[in-house]
Symmetry: C4
Subunit: 254 residues, 4 copies
């Protein structure tokens, strides 16, 4: 196996395809959002991306059959005039700095092979406290991309997120821009402590408006309610105790 | 030296050879099992595999003579119609993600040079508590491999182990599958705290049935009794104290 | 993207150019000093240096537009006979040993493409206590470079800094010397606990004299006053408590 | 710069040269011993070995002049029939597993360029307690090398050191053996807590006998006395306190 190994599964014709990236990250917002698209819309697996930078790991399916860890690209054919989607999901980011660059380069090369000219990197931005109103923060490769996003309530704040954007989402912006791709990063505000389906829904609602697609949120709302119960218990704990649970205790409960 | 350096020691003809992998891991189950085969059956060293990903280390033998750390392949000629064995043992896994991929690729290349078409990756699966009954959990590259294993009481459980299978055993499944090799991973249940000869025996009993080989378990049972004493003392400690020994205190006592 | 990727932005003619390096380090002295030059003197961005060894990260500007992390070279055309400057700034050093070598090699190659024959690596040297008098310590690739620096009160002390000089500044000396470049490292004494504009000013005052350039220190002095207040509060805390703040609590407050 | 960069400083003719390696390690025994040879015998710097695996660092000499971190080979012309020496010293080992292999390969290549056929890797072996009698433990690439060493009281103990020998000393044995070089590792017993000149002297006394060279131990004995005072204080502390200093407190006091 090479450092990166791309398996071609299918090569459908896509109309004006848009890359949607949802790898694991803060609050698993991007991952939840991208996976929800695949749950709700008909899709077709088109590429598997294997990488030596991923953990040396297989996952076991419900039949006990093993599959090597990979990132997957699914094509979604949308009705009417909406652009088709190329949705990237997976369980891992890279393990090293250099690995993130190699991985994102490979992702962009796959996207280009489908003539993708626009991409959305989905993720969360941590607020450090339980979120009441789910704002979506944006960052773009080109200021001209902001208008249509601001029209659907995406906020652009000077120099935010303060620490920049890291990982594959960050590099899709950084390396995508250098390749001439139009990329927007949509970051749902989230506490950073919990897997956050509500934040994922906020991000998806932006995507819906921008891409003229329609997604049912029933299952995501159910999951959000479960998480609300968890969050409620945490608030209770916080009011009963002076000592609040540490970040480690709270992180990614879900 | 290259990243991987393979030393050809012997090139015997093998009949229908099956790769048996037993590198260090949970409870040292796989390592104990593979080494026990080599103790009990006549074998011949056929390859040494050196890797820059292994620790920079030599081991010293009973004469004070040093040997560079390596993984070793031994050939076992079995009687009658049983398939011959190619047994992989060693003291280390790789140090990095990429290293695991490179190492497992090299292992598969050596196996292919002996026309291996089937492999068993041996290991342990941690239960977190002292085990009473030694179940063997299975995972395979192809659902068709399950029937013969289920016939000898290997259990296949949907989506288990939950965290997947990591390290060389995992990649033998993942990369082996991609190369068209039939691989089964046999994981003996084990506490995860102790070197576990009983779990190794459970795994070997499965192998015995599946491969029609015969191994004496005397020495393994002796070692198991020693470990039972250790486990007994731990149970005693646990009943006397509310505070049980931490994972770190218990891990790999042996 | 390659391990190193150099983007040519402009190629001005430079007269007798001198490389000034100010990447992050102890007390951010070098970074503050180099950035202050760019704030006070007219400059032109000439190169961006991208590296897989930098974090996989973009920064977001005041318009919400993302830019891939890089180091930047700005050209400063100085008046009269003063040498022109090639100022290197950025937010990161490399992540690995090998990465530092690769990065510094690339920096030297860029410098050579502008016919740079002299370089100043700017940084801080930690004293472990709050500094009253801002001495600048020097190290050079060639003893002949000392005289002009000692004339402006740079101190050379046998075998100091005791731990040598690490990071890009160190390698500019080490690799620059091997390439025949004249390099001096100017290290402002600093506590090591605080971002230290005063130490940066001390370093710049040396540069001013040596390079016959003139820089206004107003904004740096303002920032120094703010830091003095912080330092004052720390002194107060120290006198009120026997338990002084740990290094971790104090490091890089600012 | 390449991953490894060898600078040829001189190319003297050497008679039957023996490589002596003394890089940093347990108790700094090997480093002290090798450096003591260079202090006591006339030597000539012949090679500098630079490596990207070394820290990105320069050292500063008594004139304030910087030199890039490297390992150095000095040639020692011995009188009469004694073999000439090629002494390897330096301040660092490699940072990664693969780096140790690359580094040791380069060392062996340099040794071969001087027609070295024999090598001694010098080091310490930790006993965990203050040592009264300074035994030297041996390990060899070939059992035939033991006789002459046992004749001068080097001990060979089955399977010791139990954890094998790590780092450059270990790989000189492991990789040297594979290249057909005769290598012996001489390990002075040492507490592991203190820089140990006495252990270095014990190792050097073995070398003296085996190589028919003569070294004055005056300066090493002085340093040993200083260390004895430190050790004495530690013993005192131990008898006064039930709580002995932790490994971390004691390690490499000197």
């Amino acid at each position: 196996m090479d450092a990166i190994d791309i398996e071609r599964v299918a090569d459908p014709e896509l109309t004006d395809p848009v890359l949607i990236e949802g790898l694991p990250g803060v609050g698993h917002v991007g991952k939840l959002a991208a996976e929800h698209i695949l749950e709700e819309l008909d899709s077709e697996l088109v590429r598997r991306l294997y990488a030596e930078e991923f953990p040396p790991q297989v996952t076991i399916d419900d039949e006990g059959v093993a599959s090597l860890t990979c990132a997957e690209f699914h094509a979604v054919h949308t009705p009417d005039d909406a652009p088709d989607l190329l949705v990237l999901t997976g369980d891992h980011q890279a393990a090293t700095n250099a690995g993130h660059y190699t991985l994102t380069d490979a992702i962009l090369t796959i996207a280009e092979s489908f003539d993708v000219e626009r991409a959305f990197a989905l993720g969360g931005v941590p607020t450090g406290e339980l979120v009441e109103e789910y704002t979506v923060l944006g960052a773009v490769t080109d200021a001209a991309l902001k208008e249509s996003l601001e029209a659907v309530d995406v906020e652009f704040r000077a120099d935010e997120p303060a620490g920049g954007i890291v990982g594959v989402s960050g590099l899709l912006l950084g390396l995508g821009k250098r390749r001439g791709l139009d990329v927007a990063c949509l970051m749902g505000e989230t506490s950073g402590y919990l897997v956050d389906p509500k934040s994922a829904q906020a991000v998806l609602e932006v995507l819906q408006s921008v891409l003229s697609i329609e997604v049912d949120f029933g299952s995501l709302e159910e999951r959000a309610e479960e998480m609300e119960e968890v969050a409620g218990k945490i608030r209770e704990m916080q009011s009963q105790q002076t000592q609040i649970p540490s970040d480690d205790e709270l992180r990614y409960i879900g």
